[in-house]
């Protein structure tokens, strides 16, 4: 298979990830519950991954790494935690439903939000748009680091500086950037939470995610239950990570996630590799008559994600035809209709997304198939 749907999940994982999961399944029990060796082994796995992630994302300590099911889970903890008692939030026009829906759900609790709309690949205009939407009662700015539809890299440093100047907490959805583009808490002073999946750019297994907290104790937990600590207390612990980690943790998946992050640390210039594939792909698809490409011509703010449409065949049909050629892409609205609306697309797009395991021959296979489809 030619796999070009890495923005959904990286299908091809490093061997070290597979090995770590296999070993953990054989040896790791329930972390932080029993005192026996298999439970301690699981606890060690979690702690090792916390240390790896804390270092990679510039968190204060291992405890500031909260394990979640995925990025959506992490975003829900952050959004419900900050906005749960009402107030106003500003989001970019490129947000995924994992940001839009929690905010819409909280509408009953007095939460409102404004959408900062600015054209694709115009980072300065995005900062201006966010600034325009900030109100006196704005409690948070919540933005994606990289659009899952267009690969647009939002100007996170400038947005952070804006939020810092106004004393507004910033929440980053790093679903498409974590592992590929640096995001470090210690460089971004306004950032309160960074939310990410483990199974995309970090090359871990599905069912893993991370919430990186600057503090995290100040917000209410999304769930309550067993933590293996202070079990005689009726209320959830007030310390991390237990405040936000309830129930059995996915030690087997987290073993793989730890291996994935270590893999990413070793591989240099991931972004550059994906960007080179993107540029080549854009150039070749651009030769197809009538193709529409959502592309950053300035080559400054796009990751290895490309949306496009063909003139004669709609996006879902293109995706289906490609699947018959054993080529995996995604079509439609990518759970981010707001991003399509902001970019002016009404029909959905075909999305191609790269990983470290793709090369130029994958692009050639794709383009060859597209030329046959577009007749």
């Amino acid at each position: 298979m030619t796999y070009l749907d890495n923005a959904a999940t990286t299908l091809i994982k490093p061997q070290s990830v597979t090995d770590a999961v296999t070993e953990a399944i054989k040896t790791a029990a329930n972390a932080g519950r029993g005192g026996h060796g298999a439970s301690m082994r699981a606890a060690d796995i979690l702690f090792e991954c916390r240390e790896t992630a804390a270092d990679f994302f510039g968190a204060k300590s291992a405890e500031n790494i909260i394990f979640t099911l995925n990025a959506t889970h992490a975003l829900n903890i952050a959004i419900h935690g900050i906005m749960g008692k009402g107030g106003h939030a500003v989001i970019s026009g490129y947000e995924h439903n994992s940001v839009v829906r929690p905010l819409a759900f909280l509408g009953d609790k007095g939460v409102s939000f404004s959408v900062a709309r600015a054209p694709l690949f115009e980072p300065e205009l995005m900062v201006e748009a966010i600034n325009r939407e900030i109100k006196k009662n704005t409690k948070a700015v919540i933005v994606t680091h990289v659009s899952n539809v267009f690969g647009y890299i939002l100007p996170i440093k400038e947005i952070n500086a804006l939020c810092a100047s106004k004393g507004i907490p910033l929440v980053i959805d790093a679903a498409q950037s974590a592992g590929c583009i640096p995001v470090k808490l210690n460089d971004l002073t306004a950032v309160r939470f960074v939310c990410m999946p483990g199974h995309k750019g970090l090359y871990g297994p599905q069912g893993t995610g991370i919430l990186v907290c600057r503090d995290g104790r100040e917000i209410s937990p999304l769930m309550q239950g067993g933590t293996g600590s202070q079990s005689h207390e009726a209320f959830q612990p007030d310390f991390l990570p237990d405040r936000h980690e309830t129930g059995t943790q996915n030690a087997h998946g987290i073993a793989g996630l730890n291996a994935g992050i270590k893999f990413v640390c070793k591989v240099s210039e991931l972004y550059r590799h994906e960007r080179e594939l993107l540029d080549y792909c854009t150039e070749e698809i651009g030769k197809i008559s009538g193709a529409t490409l959502y592309y950053d011509h300035k080559k400054q703010c796009q990751s290895g994600v490309l949306s496009f449409n063909l003139a004669r065949v709609n996006a879902d049909e293109v995706s289906y035809q490609l699947s018959l050629c054993d080529i995996a892409v995604r079509s439609g609205f990518h759970c981010a209709p707001l991003a399509h609306e902001t970019a002016g697309d009404r029909m959905g797009t075909v999305r191609v997304s790269f990983s470290v395991f793709n090369d130029f021959s994958d692009v050639e296979t794709l383009v060859s198939a597209l030329k046959k489809i577009n007749v």
Partner: protein, 83 residues
Amino acid sequence: MNGCLIILRSVTYAQRAKRVLERNGISAYVIKPEAHLVGNGCGFAVKVSDVYLAESLDILSGENFGIMKVYVPSENGYRELRV
């Protein structure tokens, strides 16, 4: 090792304490002590030799570990040490 127990808030804190102590050349083990020693239900501890207890407490206090209780071995098992 019939050592002293430093009770911490959770297994994560106990593991971090173990790492910090080992970086300072002190052998430490994470264990799950009897619940009555913890005081408010389940918890975890690091076990260290009594020779290094004072130094261990100094190190951990300096890193804001939130030590809950400290026990030293006694004839009947463990005796709480007021710190």
